[in-house]
């Protein structure tokens, strides 16, 4: 559930976090069941900004942090010679935050290889002294960041290769840090070497802030440090994310498999878009290989959805998916099911979906789940996921590499009990407005196109040519209506078409289709209201709804009964006719505001 205090850090930019920090902190600190944690920050620069941002992130992650900060530049003295205050503070964690500016002695220009090695050893010993002292005096975990490259490469490219180059010195020092951490389970390295590179050194350093306040990094740099620390601390306390829940259409492959068919989905090497989906699948598979479980949560027919994984170019195979949910129920309900079946809390899930409305409801209805704003450009999904640092671990075991294999998608299947009472509230929160009206010349092409490509929400799957659709405009016995739906995430465009023809006082509905992207929005109720309105105006007494089953439209077999139609007849092939009396019909839609078309 999104928290009742309404604070959602994921939706705020770093600028907003900084500006509204005090108010956010006040609200977050009022949350219940926060886990206290004492963190000492020993630093070679001014760390208040990093600590401020870290505090917000940790509060949001369920911790109640208290901080002890060394005076600027006193990281060595406070750890080694003057540690009384630190010891009294009794930290759960010490973060030694130093930067390339705090390196004591670089190897001098023109030195020999041997001198270079000696300088690297001397420098790492300086830091080792800090870690050893902290181990002896406190004994808690220590996070030491490694070092970003220097702000300038005085020697240009040579800076990276010759013994006196600072760039080379930083590389050597960082390798030493890695080796020390590998042999010391109490020492964790925060990889600022990479973090700064991702941001870019020119954006990482901020000279005005260094000269004015002794802050080493830009605001963006401080924020990246805080995000990374939060991920490490979550991992220390076993709160790391474990499951990646994936949508299918336009998330794992391009296109809508139910409409386009498995042969038309975009995956493989044929087009740039297909390549991008393949790359994202490869990324997901890499996560699985390091112990992150993959689950599928998709609005789809299950059988059809599974065909996507049999596509010869699909990198992900069904066996990689630990839990598979493809149906037409709301996604947050399916996520609750996945949590049950995997026997894991949904607060260890990360959900990826290209559809902002789905992200919104899952975020609002699922306590603690991470729903990054991945957008709808597949080329960006992995990068945005990476930024969140959801799957951080402080160590990896053999079990992690094999975890995914331990889960079988058919195990631990249990019935879903609870339903959310407030789906209507969710619909209201979307602020939906529909434009529904008779066919108009400007829409004819789109309408004809929809009749030819919609397969799932399509009652008769009748295909029409543009001419046939155009003829409806002048046919006095036909009612053709279209629906456009807009919500607060944007315009979904023209997404529904209903077409009926009268014979005396009966209207036969020969076509009713809708795009699946607006499923479960009550759009069909709004279309029915309008259709009945027009029918009434023409003196029609009864609507006949026709259903013709195909391989792909099972999702609408109960469409007419759900709308209150009664079955008139059914054929052995499953096709059926339903009827509804116009007299006494009361409008059904309550969640969508209806707008009359402008130029009818």
């Amino acid at each position: 559930m999104s928290h009742p205090d309404g604070v959602d850090l994921a939706s705020l930019s770093v600028d907003e976090l900084l500006t509204k920090r005090k108010g956010l902190r006040r609200k977050l600190a009022a949350r219940e069941n926060l886990q206290p944690i004492r963190i000492a920050v020993l630093s070679g620069s001014t760390t208040n900004e990093v600590v401020d941002l870290l505090e917000l992130r940790l509060l949001d992650a369920g911790f109640a942090p208290t901080f002890h900060q060394s005076e600027y530049g006193r990281f060595y003295v406070d750890a080694v010679h003057d540690a009384d205050t630190l010891v009294q503070f009794d930290p759960h964690l010490v973060y030694v935050h130093t930067s390339v500016r705090n390196i004591q002695r670089f190897a001098p220009m023109g030195c020999s290889e041997i001198e270079f090695e000696e300088h690297v050893k001397a420098e790492i010993s300086f830091f080792q002294e800090i870690w050893t002292s902290l181990e002896e005096k406190i004994g808690c975990l220590v996070i030491q960041n490694n070092f970003e490259f220097p702000p300038y490469a005085i020697l240009g490219n040579l800076d990276a290769t010759i013994a006196g180059g600072h760039t080379r010195f930083v590389s050597a020092l960082n390798l030493e840090c890695a080796q020390r951490a590998a042999s010391n389970s109490k020492l964790l390295v925060q990889d600022i070497w990479s973090i700064s590179a991702r941001i870019g050194l020119d954006q990482w350093f901020d000279f005005e802030r260094w000269f004015s306040y002794k802050i080493n990094t830009s605001l963006e740099g401080s924020h990246a440090i805080a995000i990374s620390l939060t991920a490490i601390i979550r991992a220390m306390y076993g709160k790391t994310r474990k499951v990646l829940v994936l949508d299918l259409d336009n998330t794992l492959w391009g296109g809508v498999i139910g409409d386009d068919g498995v042969e038309k989905i975009q995956i493989g090497r044929e087009t740039p878009v297909a390549e991008a989906y393949s790359a994202f699948q490869q990324y997901c598979l890499s996560l699985r290989n390091r112990g992150v479980l993959l689950a599928v949560c998709s609005k789809n027919n299950e059988e059809i959805a599974k065909l996507g994984f049999e596509h010869p170019d699909s990198i992900l195979k069904l066996e990689h998916i630990s839990c598979f949910k493809a149906n037409w129920e709301p996604k947050h309900e399916n996520i609750a099911l996945i949590a049950k079946e995997l026997n894991l809390g949904a607060d260890s899930f990360v959900f990826v979906d290209d559809n902002p409305a789905e992200r919104e409801i899952v975020r609002a209805q699922t306590d603690g789940i991470a729903v990054p704003e991945v957008g709808s450009d597949v080329a960006q999904y992995a990068k945005i996921l990476e930024t969140g640092r959801y799957f951080e671990q402080i160590s990896l075991s053999q079990e992690d590499y094999e975890r995914a294999a331990l889960y079988d998608q058919n195990t631990r299947r249990t019935a879903f009990e609870g339903k959310f009472a407030d789906y209507g509230e969710y619909l209201d929160s979307l602020s939906m407005t529909a434009e529904i009206g008779r066919f108009q010349p400007i829409y004819l092409e789109r309408i004809a196109q929809l009749t030819n490509k919609t397969n799932q929400f399509n009652l008769t799957t009748r295909r029409y040519t543009l001419d046939e659709i155009e003829s409806i405009l002048t046919d006095p016995d036909a009612i053709g209506i279209y629906g456009r739906l807009r919500d607060r995430f944007g315009d979904n465009g023209l997404i529904s078409v209903v077409l009926g023809r009268r014979t005396n006082d009966i209207l036969d509905i020969e076509l009713w289709l809708m795009s699946c992207r607006v499923l479960k929005r009550d759009m069909e109720l709004a279309m029915l209201d309008t259709l009945v309105g027009y029918a009434r105006g023409m003196g029609i007494a009864i609507l006949h709804g026709h259903y013709r089953p195909t391989k792909k439209n099972a999702m609408v077999q109960d469409h007419y009964p759900k709308l209150g139609f009664e079955m008139v007849s059914q054929n052995p092939d499953g096709s059926a006719i339903y009827s509804l009396e116009v007299k006494g019909f009361a409008p059904r839609n309550t969640h969508i505001k209806i707008m009359e078309p402008a130029n009818e």
Binding site: L18, E49, R209
Partner: protein, 82 residues
């Protein structure tokens, strides 16, 4: 647009940074007259304003800010030369 026209926006930023919805500032406000305006909050304020208006104050300019009025004038000058 005169530099004072931005005062309401700047006041809004101050209110957020100080978490005080009733805070009122004018050209003469400074660290003496606004409670809690210490050196750390000053950094936050300057950074918040730089980000909000997408400007970057130079070192010399930062040192010459004594009152909110100085800040408004400097901001005006920065935005005019953008």
């Amino acid at each position: 647009m005169s530099s004072d026209d931005r005062l309401p926006e700047i006041q809004e930023i101050f209110r957020d940074v100080f978490d005080d919805p009733n805070l009122v500032i004018d050209r003469h406000s400074n660290a003496e007259t606004v409670p809690d305006w210490d050196s750390l909050t000053h950094v936050n304020l300057i950074t918040a304003i730089e980000k909000r208006y997408k400007v970057k104050f130079a070192l010399g300019q930062l040192q010459q800010l004594h009152h909110v009025g100085d800040l408004l004038d400097l901001l005006d000058q920065k935005l005019a030369s953008k």
